[in-house]
């Protein structure tokens, strides 16, 4: 009925823009990762997969990879678990809802790095306000050195990660919730569905596409997220909180091994692609059923 070219015409601008920021840099990175490169990105000999080989022989890299997967899973799943009930509440009508919405979105108002820096400061062992607050409340009596070792630092970083992902996620969900017609809940309620059943059988399935967006995008963002870990521990002490991005940053800009860094980023890219394609396939198959 329509000229077949219309949709292509419609997606063209976005396609061009997205392609511009990805294709050219991607080509650069690929060639960096296959060459011996000086610290300023000048290509020397072609060395094939040498960078990859040395990476996979590096226990720090392997450890960082596993940690990254854990970090991503923990933050993303934690975020979703926290965000769904919050979004549901914020979608209800109650006194102070507007304020509550603003409050929940507030962590977004300051850049991630700034938030992370404030947290780093608040987590300081001796002059951090978290310890002093906890002491005032009588919860602890000796200061906890939050960032001194991974066992306390990493959970805190995950917590911060969740905290700063919540606004984004809640906002997506709110947008999604607004598309569920009210009478479906009414019908479900008269059929005897309690709040939980309504949530399980109506809200959740209708929110599915939005949960999928939140899940996929959060995964990508968290997987690539740099500031929280960098600002609090720079991946330390002794690489024990390194994730792939911080590892990559150090490799690239501290050590000046751009080739290896490019290889790291391509490996990260591959992990993400495999993950999302699997997920998107799965989600779409479900949608079709």
């Amino acid at each position: 009925m329509q000229r077949a070219s219309v949709p292509y015409f419609l997606i063209l601008p976005s396609f061009l823009l997205a392609a511009a920021i990805i294709l050219w840099p991607l080509k650069e990175i690929v060639s960096l990762s296959l060459h011996d490169v000086n610290r300023f990105g000048m290509l020397k000999d072609f060395i094939g997969l040498e960078h990859y080989r040395s990476l996979f022989a590096n226990p720090d890299f392997i450890a960082a990879t596993w940690r990254t997967l854990f970090w991503t899973a923990a933050v993303v799943i934690g975020t979703l678990i926290v965000s769904v009930p919050i979004a549901l509440i914020l979608n209800e009508d109650f006194y102070g809802r507007g304020i509550a919405r603003i409050l929940i979105m507030l962590p977004w108002a300051i850049s991630l790095t700034m938030t992370a820096i404030v947290w780093r400061w608040a987590l300081n062992g001796e002059s951090g306000m978290l310890n002093s607050a906890l002491r005032d409340l009588g919860i602890i009596n000796t200061n906890i050195q939050w960032l001194a070792e991974a066992s306390t630092a990493f959970p805190m970083q995950i917590l911060i990660g969740i905290l700063v992902s919540v606004p984004f996620t809640v906002t997506i969900f709110l947008g999604g919730l607004s598309s569920v017609p009210e009478d479906l809940y009414e019908a479900a309620a008269t059929e005897g569905a309690g709040r939980w059943d309504q949530f399980r059988l109506i809200t959740l399935p209708l929110l599915k596409p939005f949960i999928n967006i939140a899940f996929v995008l959060n995964t990508i963002y968290v997987f690539n997220s740099f500031p929280i870990i960098w600002a609090t521990t720079q991946g330390g002490p002794a690489n024990s909180t390194d994730i792939l991005v911080t590892y990559l940053y150090k490799t690239a800009f501290r050590m000046g091994r751009l080739g290896e860094a490019a290889a790291v980023s391509l490996i990260m890219f591959a992990i993400l692609i495999i993950f999302t394609i699997l997920y998107v396939r799965l989600a779409m198959r479900e949608e079709k059923q």
């Binding site: 009478d183 009414e186 019908a187 479900a188 309620a189 008269t190 059929e191 005897g192 059988l201 399935p205």
Partner: protein
Amino acid sequence: MAGLQIKQLAKSYGAMNILHGIDLEVRDGEFLVLIGPSGCGKSTLLRMIAGLEDISSGELWIGDRLSNGLPPQQRNISMVFQSYALFPHMSVRKNIGFGPKIRRESAAAIDAKVGKAAETLNLHDYLDRVPRQLSGGQRQRVAMGRTIVREPDLFLFDEPLSNLDAKLRVQMRTELKALHQQLKTTMVYVTHDQIEAMTMADRIVVMNAGRIEQAGSPLELYDKPVNKFVAGFLGSPAMTFIPGTLERGDGAPKVRTDNGTIIPVGDTTAASGQPVEIGIRPEHYRLAPDGNGFAYHVEVIEPTGSETHLFGTISGVAVRCVFRDRLAPEPGTQLSLTVDPAKVHVFDAKTGNRI
């Protein structure tokens, strides 16, 4: 199973009053039909009974429980929505089986119930489609199915058959009646279909502008409407009214219209000389066998197959008559009609109340 007691129930949206103190008792096991013009508050009343709409004032008793604040889940009510409210992400099967599923019935039991409902509703071929892929009538049937698989204390139906064809509608009507007979569950049913109302109801409630005009058995309402509104609303085509003056001469009272036409009326409390309006249902006009009835000027003839509808005037007032026979008078001719005086309703010209 439960009856309903509604006391001075009122509803307002902001400053707008939609229901002005409804008093109504629905007996346990009764089939109650709500009718009234579009926008008079039928759906609103139903939704208040279901617990979907806050009660502005008054009391709602379900069984012997004051239920004003009870959430809908706890009322054990089943309802067909005027908007259907089908779950767009569920197949027809899942939509119909929703209630039993919530009640954690076994898969086999759910299957059986859904199967039975689909049978009744002629939906077996569509069980695996989603609502988006259904026609309007099919959707409505799914909404109906979702309701009838349950065994609630109270059924609420909001125009559940409006999108079905006549044949299916008759069939569904019978099924619903049978369901009611079998379950003896109280049912409150909103409809615009006169026949539905008349044939299904134990009692009909006529609403108008947020008030109850009359409640009673179908024939009571048909035969003895308390006022012009009920008289005019019930029956299709509607009753027409002719103004005139009551005259009690020798014995039988009659009404003299503005141009002097005389129409004999039955029992009435009206005083002689009182201005009245008489109402006659279109189907009660008969051709005067001997030509000595009152004059009817035919203007338009509309055959419907089984009947013939005539449009014309009596004493200058537009009047529609319906004849079972297929008549074919020329437009412009004059017929002589009579009406059984017992079938002429007399209303006070001022208040509109039956007298």
